[in-house]
């Protein structure tokens, strides 16, 4: 049986330049990082690039990590920064590779449905910084205070971004209903600023 790796000691060893320890950390975290990046940038190629860039930066910056117990929060921040970089690069592009999402609609308590496809289109229209806050809250389960600490943002900024994201999604879903033709166009080319 493989011995269970102690991640804390891997972090300390990686900080000292141990590439094996870094490899263990990268393997242990890459799936989660990629899932986060995919959810934020909504594009598989950019998600791969952001994940890879964040891990490379992690290796370079590890010696400067002050508190090993903050490794996950620190890595998360590197990933978000890499997603921002990808978002900036993507603004000049007109084509993106859309994520396949053919799952059925999500029922809610009132038996009405919000179609995944519509949700995806609406989510893409949100500014990247609002998507980041939303994803960290829902996928990572972070509180607004924890998101603020992770991103080094004032709490009020995080709260307002979360609030605007929700309001923006609702507006986009409703607008999607009103303009089916525009929605179909958006589906083809990909929407959103990020």
């Amino acid at each position: 049986m493989q011995p269970v790796r102690d991640e804390a000691s891997d972090v300390i060893r990686a900080m000292a330049g141990d590439h094996d320890a870094f490899a263990a950390l990268a393997n242990a975290n890459v799936d989660r990082m990629y899932a986060l990046a995919r959810a934020i940038v909504r594009d598989v190629d950019r998600a791969e690039d952001a994940t890879q860039e964040a891990l490379v930066r992690a290796w370079r910056e590890l010696p400067r990590l002050r508190d090993p117990s903050r490794f996950h929060a620190w890595l998360r921040r590197l990933l978000v920064n890499a997603c921002y970089d990808e978002g900036r690069r993507a603004r000049s592009r007109s084509e993106v590779v859309l994520l396949a999402d053919h799952a059925p609609a999500i029922p809610d308590e009132s038996s009405r449905v919000i179609d995944r496809d519509r949700l995806d289109r609406a989510f893409r229209r949100l500014p990247l910084e609002q998507r980041v806050v939303t994803v960290l809250g829902h996928i990572e389960g972070l509180t607004h205070e924890e998101i603020a600490a992770t991103l080094d943002l004032p709490l009020g900024t995080v709260k307002s971004r979360a609030r605007y994201a929700l309001a923006g999604l609702r507006s986009a879903l409703e607008a999607d209903d009103r303009m089916p033709a525009l929605a179909a166009e958006t589906r083809r080319v990909g929407g959103g600023r990020g």
Binding site: A16, G17, D18, H19, D20, F22, A23, A26, V30, D31, R32, M33, Y34, A35, L36, R38, A39, E48, T51, Q52, L55, V56, W59, R60, P63, A103, I106, D108, E109, S110, R112, I114, L119, D120, F123, P127, E129, Q130, T134, V135, H138, I139, E145, D152, P154, L155, G156, K159, S160, R161, R163, Y164, L166, A167, G168, L169, R170, L173, E174, D177
Partner: protein, 411 residues
Amino acid sequence: MDRFSDDQVDRALGAWLREQSATRAPARIVEDVFARTSRTRQARRWWALRPLGRGLDGLPGSDVRRPSTWQRASAFAGAIGILVVVVGLAFVLRPGVTGPGTLVRPSPSPSLSASPSATASASPFVRPSPTPVPTVLGSTAARRLGLGDNAGPIEVTEAFGSIWVADIHGNDVRRYDPATMREVARIPARGAAWFAVADGALWVTNQMSVGLTRIDPATNTVVARVGDVPPCGAPVVAFDSIWQSACDAGVFLRIDPATNTVAETIPAAGHLFLALAGGQLVTTGPEGLATLDPDTGAFTPIVSAAPTDPAIVTSDGNAVWVVNASAVVGINPADGRTVGRLDAAEPQAISFAGDRAWVTLRHGGVLEVDRATMKVTRTIPVPGYPLVPLESAGVLWVTDFESSALWRIEP
């Protein structure tokens, strides 16, 4: 057409996003990472003078070989050379020795290190201040005061002959002498963020907690805490009251400063922030701009081109200024007309002084803007994350949230 509540959208969004968290990463990501990082691996190991170990089995870049004697000698010589350069730079850049364009990092004073007992104390206390470090930002003289690793300065304001800084992470309000930057008091205030002056007292929002804290400037003590919901944004003093958004609760509070009580709670769904402009209470948020009638609590929409995703709102007395992620827009609340606009990357806040305005940019310094034309006349390269600017008595004060610092700039 479907009409969804925020709660329905939030639950559906959460379920949809959590489904995606099971995604597996393509193997090529880690392969490429290992290939890229293995190039720096040997150099780092030599630097640490650590014995080389086993590589990454079966992965590209895992073929670590023991360096030759020549390689070891080169690495050792390089390390000595870098050490000499670092020591030399440290000598040249030591505090008190500055040159044009040189930023000198402050040397933290041991006496300033935050102690738990200090922030938990219920009484004001004065501690030896760290020394502000003189420097030059571009061609502008400035002084930087480090506030300590645990600080998170939000607003800076001038009141009662002092400069006050709200420290959201350190849970305190700090009072400084404006001439010397000497700290003269530190008052506990949970999650301190935004200030107001009313009824002869300084008020600060408890953004990481609930309500507002009232501070007596004569004694530097907390004399009251008012409100039981978390505040959002800056308080506004108008119509003999303090008006405070509490967006988590979806209400505005009207606080009577004479009695230290919440006099009224106004439902305010869709309205996030408040400002006093043109003699009116103006609100912003997803519902757009609106005026709030102080007597009836009724909102009247203002048709305007103001962003509906404001991060902050302020006033120059006549116009309301809305800041979002890409622009600062001034609106006349009387007719909704746009009176000024500045497009910029990640503006944080705007303040006004005479015929100029100051705009902070995240990682972009502080802009001096001509109010008449809204053209940038100068960029002061304040490093870090300049957050709130304040010009008072010819001095520009700026909080740096990321680096936990207060800047005193002489524009």
